[in-house]
Amino acid sequence: MGELAAFREEARAWVRENAPKSLWGTSGSGPFEGYWGGSKCRETDPDLLRWRDLGIEKRWTAPAWPVEYGGGGRSAAEEHIIHVEMQAIGVPRPVAGQGLAMLGPVLLEYGSDAQKAQHLPGIVRGEVRWCQGYSEPNAGSDLANLQLRAERQGDALVLNGQKTWTSHADLSDWIYCLVRTDSSAPKKQMGISVVLVDLSTPGITVRRIDLISGYSPFCETFFEDVRVPAENLVGKENEGWAIAKAILGHERASIGRSIARQPGSAQRDVVERARRHLGAPEGPIPDPLLRDEIAGLGMREEAFHLTLARIQQEAEVGTPGPEGSITKIVGSELKQMRFEIGMKVAGVRGLGWEGPGFDPRDLEYTRDWLRSRASTIEGGSSEIQKNIVSKRVLGLPEGKK
């Protein structure tokens, strides 16, 4: 612990010294904060770009990845400390994205040396942006039902089919896809492979999806006779399901993190709204029932953050408990709870879609409230999570659903 404590001091000092002041307190705004990079990136904020460069130079964009691929070669505990210190002052990580959060860890575990050398440095430097091709119109919660076909033709795979919920496919350079390489396999979990696809390959079209909240980063991605070199398969052909599950594990951890925000921030946010809309700049919030609801939210938020801290402490001493399995469920429900109460306190002033007659803060909040309905669906619905906890943690017998 002595060494880690010393490293914590070092990390804190470096982050506070180097993170541009304009970025302090900006983290926690949503899942797509920070610098996502890629060849289509039009980011112009000089501080965000400087923070990216400093992070790359310090090798702290992927602190725990091997040095040979541009990582920092640090331990998982040290990486966590770095991230905590950034979170503590509310600055985003220097480079963000699904390459860092999801694909990278999987390539490190399952990828070939050539794949690692080809893809990891670009991810570390924020030069190549990745998106995820998982869900399909008929493969949501039942992901293993996916149908996008990949047929061998010589040393290439030919892809035909459709992916959906491909976040930011329109801004990404590459997509990692789950494809069906063997449709005659006896179980649907068999015959699935993971393949890396360059989105500029002919035959790919991307269409944006609007949500109930309006604009969204989600897309549909269509594949028509798309030729991909066979060496882009990750791991063994037809054995991609295990890899898919590993990626989903990283995704849930990442969703849990992004939902967590700053301790106490949900309560602060709703109290501020209540004060503004109920005309009570200070003192007790005049409606005791709303105050009770807000306190319930605040207490649950605190218990959730304490639980995240406990999970982390258990992991640091090498005895991870089973609580990690519930963070996605609780975090997403907490987010919805926060927006629901925030909408209640706004009353009719929360009904604006756009234009005059409404406070811009309320217009944005209302969109966020609508968007929050997806949080218990995306990344594994709460119901699917409960099935998993029930089976793996509580040891309840598998049954008819």
Binding site: M299, A303, L306, K386, P397, G399
Partner: protein
């Protein structure tokens, strides 16, 4: 977490060992079915004095009492480790009265003479102390009239835990000039009368009647003028200790329920294979995980972050009350018909859950306090 640093929430190896030893001894010696026997035989004591003495010998009753007062000199956190285990068996032994309410009054507000007189006896299991809590709103009140150099106490306090066997009872009373003061009343004093109460939850309690009970000025515990802050501090510790007991009890109810639904068969399958039950079980598991974090943080705050105790006491007690009640209700529902029979032990949990829910502040009172402490 008002600051960015989360409290340390893990048990040390010694604390894990304490939890394990306590769990084993309690499982072997304190079956929940005892509550039924005590109730049906109208047992005069209502708990096992032998078991209490045995726990004293193991050092458990003096975990948090300083070494020079006969204890082990550990922290409140350690006491909560023990309390969680006692909660698993819904033990009716006088943990709440003597170790939480009683001992904390002396630890926080006692004079050296009072500490010398009471703490070693508490640690040795030889002395029992309780605290009477006049209920807000009902108007039960004790008054302390000046009487020579001392006072004469008159009034009545009900629901005083273990008062039927306590050697002394701490009673908040209004002294001349409307000053709230804590008085230590010896049960043997003339004018003290006790009426045993029989409750649903298996804990023992009595009404304390005081009729011009004459006591000296040295029977005051803590400040003479305003005992309010001291009482709040004592109650916050009791809230946290009680939350630890509730956590243990809720875990036990859940463990028993999980074991039951894995074996009970209907429609040719264990009922635990039905998704309707599985999802409810996960909900209880989720609340237990959140509650455990709150209880650990609150217990740690008593030892390490005194400024955060009030807030975390309300968090822990409020959350634990809701979780225990949920676990107790789900336990009965999943046990089905057998769950509502007196023959089965699972029904004892909801009785204790209700008692704990309304004691030391109910969850809505804790939410109100939480809001106030956060400035809204």
């Amino acid at each position: 977490m008002t600051g960015h640093r989360a409290p340390h929430l893990l048990l040390s190896d010694e604390q894990k060992m304490l939890a394990k030893t306590a769990r084993e001894l309690i499982a072997a010696r304190a079956a929940i079915g005892r509550l039924r026997s005590f109730r049906d035989s109208k047992d005069e004591v209502g708990f096992s004095r032998e078991l209490w003495a045995e726990m004293a010998e193991l050092g458990w009753l003096g975990l948090q009492i300083p070494v020079d007062h006969g204890g082990l000199g550990l922290g409140f956190f350690d006491l909560c480790v023990l309390l969680e285990q006692s909660g698993r068996a819904l033990m009716p032994e006088p943990f709440s009265s003597t170790l939480l309410l009683g001992a904390q009054v002396f630890l926080l507000g006692g004079s050296e003479a009072q500490k010398d007189a009471w703490l070693p006896g508490i640690a040795a299991g030889e002395k029992l102390v309780s605290l009477g809590l006049p209920e807000e709103g009902i108007g039960s009140q004790v008054s302390a009239a000046a009487n020579g150099r001392g006072f004469a106490l008159t009034g009545e306090v009900a629901d005083v835990l273990d008062a039927h066997v306590a050697d002394a009872i701490v009673v908040p009373a209004l002294a001349p000039g409307d000053r709230k003061t804590l008085f230590l009343v010896d049960r043997r004093e003339t004018g003290v009368r006790l009426t045993r109460q029989h409750r649903i939850d298996g804990r023992n309690a009595a009404i304390v009647h005081l009729d011009r009970v004459r006591i000296g000025g040295d029977a005051i515990v803590g400040p003479r003028h305003d005992a309010g802050p001291l009482l709040d501090e004592v109650l916050d510790r009791a809230r946290i200790g009680s939350a630890a007991q509730m956590l243990g009890a809720a875990e036990q109810a859940f463990d028993d329920t999980l074991a039951y639904i894995k074996t009970r068969e209907q429609f040719g399958a264990p009922i635990g294979s039905f998704q309707a039950l599985q999802h409810r079980a996960v909900s209880v598991f989720t609340e237990l995980a959140l509650t455990r974090s709150a209880v650990l943080a609150a217990a740690r705050a008593v030892d390490e972050a005194p400024d955060d105790v009030a807030r975390l006491a309300s968090l822990a007690n409020g959350v634990a009350s809701e979780t225990f009640m949920l676990a107790a209700k789900v336990a009965i529902q999943m046990h089905g018909g057998i769950g509502v029979t007196d023959e089965h032990d699972i029904g004892f949990f909801i009785k204790r859950a209700q008692a704990d829910y309304v004691s030391l502040g109910n969850p809505s009172q804790h939410r109100r306090r939480w809001a106030k402490l956060h400035g809204y």
